[in-house]
């Protein structure tokens, strides 16, 4: 009930969508398990796919599809304008539809069994900490936690509270307070940025998107922990990734593993020959990009990462595993190269149009011509460079370490200083109120 009240506080009109998705997969899961015939199971699974992807498609991509259909059909004499109602995107729809889908898909594949309690299952779908922006939790990770009454332990509350505070700090002080003003200034400002300014704006968004999204995930994991629940880790120091496959093992892990398990593998994964494998990677990444929003710039971002992954596979084939170039001393330069490529790819994610994206990319490469965009205030630019450097160093140091263990090994006064520092930074550096970026996905 609490989760529904939480969601309804935003817009109660969209609560029925959660109920439809919940009930559909609840019944679909039970029906699939009851059937013996594979084809019959598939037909039932289609109901879940149709309902969930239909809801997602209508609310998130309806206008986009019609607009592009109009553009495609216009040259053949068809009308170019197909009006679509101006509907608000229901917050969290991309997240909870993927959760409910995973439940039916797991039962279809035989890796999960239908859950008896509809109440438990409803809590899984609507669990308020992660309902609106993830992590995308798998049913059979969460539901078993409901078998025994959860005990709220003081240590869980202390650690969960710490994670919640850390997430808020990332969002309020870093994403909104330091990064967003610089990113907005460069991406939305009128004029062409100079090279240094373009890098500053791009790095600002690189920091903003991480602190915004990882901040929300960390808050969600922290709140859940306070109630005695475990949610899966969603970010593992992604800017310390050495290579793109490593990046996707660290960035939005709950989505990347979802896409791997239910899309890439369903397409055949790497089992159908090298060319199909490359195609499957590209399709997965393009659709992963589209998941983020109804715009071709998101698709381009996904496609770029697909190309990065393909390139990485090609290089790995050429360079033998025992080569000098695969030694541990390559981790830092490879990590920095990965970071620069990932940051450049964010340009497509952030820019409002392809024209603007290419303008910024041109400036990044020093090909943008004379700068006409007003310079960022030195304080703003200085804060961005310093914060990005700190994030990179933190990710590098914590690359293969566990935060909880590191915190436990830190003396109590060290932890208290971190707690005080984060609260003070939130108060002193907070910018204007901004919704989490991933709410729009």
């Amino acid at each position: 009930m609490g989760s529904y009240v939480f969601y309804g506080a935003w817009n109660p009109l969209f609560l029925p969508l959660i109920w439809i998705s919940t009930l559909t997969d609840w019944f679909v899961g039970a029906r699939i398990a009851a059937l013996e015939d594979r084809a019959a199971k598939w037909r039932v699974l289609l109901v879940s796919l149709t309902v969930n992807l239909g809801l997602l498609g209508f609310f998130k991509y309806g206008g986009f599809i019609l607009k592009n259909a109009g553009s495609a059909l216009a040259p053949f004499g068809f009308p170019s304008d197909y009006p679509f109602p101006d509907i608000i995107l229901p917050v969290g729809i991309s997240f909870y539809t993927f959760q409910t889908l995973s439940y039916s898909l797991d039962i279809y594949r035989g890796t999960g069994r239908p859950w008896r309690s509809l109440l438990d299952y409803s809590l899984y779908v609507a669990f308020f900490p992660q309902l609106v922006a993830g992590p995308i939790v798998r049913a059979f990770y969460f539901l078993p936690q409901l078998l025994n009454p959860t005990k709220v332990r003081l240590n869980d509350v202390a650690w969960g509270g710490f994670l919640f505070l850390l997430g808020l700090f990332e969002k309020v002080a870093l994403a909104d307070g330091i990064f967003a003003p610089a990113a907005d200034g460069v991406f939305d400002g009128p004029g062409v940025p100079g090279t240094v300014q373009a890098w500053c704006g791009t790095l600002a968004f690189t920091g903003q998107i991480f602190c915004d999204f990882a901040g929300y995930s960390t808050c969600a994991i922290g709140i859940a922990r306070c109630f005695g629940f475990r949610l899966p880790v969603n970010f593992r120091m992604p800017y310390a990734a050495a290579g793109f496959s490593d990046f996707w093992k660290r960035w939005h892990v709950s989505l990347s593993t979802w896409l791997r398990d239910y899309l890439y593998i369903s397409l055949g994964g790497n089992r159908k020959g090298p060319w199909r494998t490359l195609g499957n990677i590209l399709i997965t990444m393009l659709l992963g990009g589209l998941w983020h929003g109804a715009s071709w710039t998101f698709v381009a971002w996904g496609g770029l990462h697909g190309l990065f992954l393909i390139l990485e596979r090609a290089v790995k084939k050429v360079v033998p595993p025992d080569s000098f170039w695969r030694g541990p001393w390559m981790t830092v330069p490879l990590g920095l190269a990965t970071f620069v490529a990932v940051a450049a790819a964010w340009v497509f994610f952030r820019a409002r149009s392809f024209d603007r994206a290419f303008e910024i990319l041109g400036s990044l490469l020093g090909l943008g011509g004379p700068a006409t965009l007003a310079a960022l205030p030195p304080v703003s630019a200085g804060l961005v460079w310093a914060a990005v450097l700190i994030i990179l160093m933190t990710h590098g140091v914590m690359r293969n370490r566990d935060l909880e263990t590191a915190a436990a090994k830190t003396p109590w006064w060290g932890r208290s200083l971190v707690i005080a520092g984060m609260i003070l930074a939130m108060i002193l550096f907070s910018g204007e109120d901004r919704a989490f970026i991933y709410f729009q996905f």
């Binding site: 970010f235 263990t405 005080a420 550096f429 109120d433």
Partner: protein
């Protein structure tokens, strides 16, 4: 095969209970001590709390305007009504009424009037600060952005969030964005000093107080006169006939609010000295303002008709100092009571 470790938690180890307890308590005590010190420091330098005024806070008060039936007093307009009226005086003289400040600095208010007219939940009184110029069609959408935000994006949860943050900002100086770290760094880099005192502070109820003792009044006056000359110079004044056509278009909105038991009052708030001279020269009252009642059916109040304001002066020509706003509010409320527009 390499293992990627969890970056948040994979271990049961969270440190012992007692050490976490110490960490949290010591951390929170440290925060309280530092913030207490900061609060004392800024107050000792004469700073006052001030609230961030934005569309979310406006939406809080827009929702309020529709929530109190006939006791709702919606205050529309721009900066003048925010500065010239005293919230405390208004509340003490009209204790049954719930003022909702819906003015937006620098923008003409008729989009909000149209919105209230469309909203059947609004059955209260509209006090609309406006000049004859503001009735022109091209200015009608001045505050539409706020109206659209309220209807399309504002949620109960956001408004609650804004209420809570405003409540704190209304009481704590260090929460003022003017005194946040980024602003301090800018100021320090530019002049090596801390921010000076501001003459304007905003309360959580969106009323504002102007203390002209804290600013260079002469510079403000010159700036304002230059600005008003530019505005009047760039904007040709319509003939009284053309203007009357535009004003007449508001009659349905006024009637609609009236049919629900509400009232609309257009108020011309004070401008004085050279500012008033230019206003009157450009938009002669007899040709424009005095016709509004006949064209719309709404009540009108012109500051020049109010008794007891002869010695009242706007320091920079266009707004009252906070020391004068209680007296002006008292006189204005007296007029509203006298004409039975409001009843105690």
């Amino acid at each position: 095969m390499k293992t990627v470790h969890s970056s948040i938690s994979s271990s049961e180890e969270t440190g012992d209970r007692r050490s976490w307890g110490f960490a949290w308590i010591a951390g929170l005590v440290t925060v309280l001590l530092i913030l207490g010190g900061m609060e004392a420091f800024w107050r000792s330098r004469g700073h006052e709390p001030s609230v961030t005024d934005d569309v979310d806070l406006w939406s809080v008060w827009r929702a309020e305007a529709a929530a109190h039936g006939t006791k709702s007093l919606a205050l529309l307009g721009a900066s003048r009504i925010q500065l010239d009226l005293s919230a405390e005086t208004l509340r003490s003289l009209l204790p049954g009424f719930r003022p909702a400040m819906l003015a937006v600095d620098g923008r003409h208010p008729l989009a909000v009037l149209a919105d209230l007219a469309e909203d059947d939940r609004f059955t209260g009184i509209v006090l609309c600060d406006i000049t004859a110029m503001g009735f022109q069609r091209e200015y009608r959408a001045g505050q539409q952005e706020y109206v659209d935000y309220y209807h399309r994006h504002s949620t109960a949860e956001q408004r609650l969030n804004r209420r809570v943050s405003s409540w704190f900002q209304d009481r704590l100086v260090f929460l003022d964005p003017y005194l946040k770290a980024r602003r301090l760094l800018y100021q320090w880099r530019r002049s090596g000093t801390l921010p000076g005192l501001r003459y304007l502070v905003t309360s959580a109820d969106r009323f504002r107080k102007a203390d002209y003792g804290k600013t260079d009044v002469s510079a403000q006056r010159n700036h304002r006169l230059k600005r008003i000359r530019e505005i009047y110079g760039n904007d040709p004044v319509p003939s009284p006939g053309e203007w009357a056509e535009m004003v007449r278009e508001l009659e349905p909105a006024v009637r609609r609010i009236g049919e629900r038991g509400g009232k609309v009052v257009f108020v011309r708030l004070p401008t004085t000295g050279e500012h008033w001279r230019i206003d009157e020269e450009t938009w002669p009252r007899a040709l424009y303002w005095d016709r509004i009642h006949g064209l719309t059916g709404a009540e009108t109040i012109h500051f020049r008709d109010l008794p007891g304001l002869e010695d009242l002066a706007c320091p920079e020509g266009s707004h009252l100092d906070y020391r004068d706003s209680p007296r002006f509010t008292g006189i204005l409320v007296g007029e509203l009571l006298k004409r039975k527009i409001v009843e105690k």
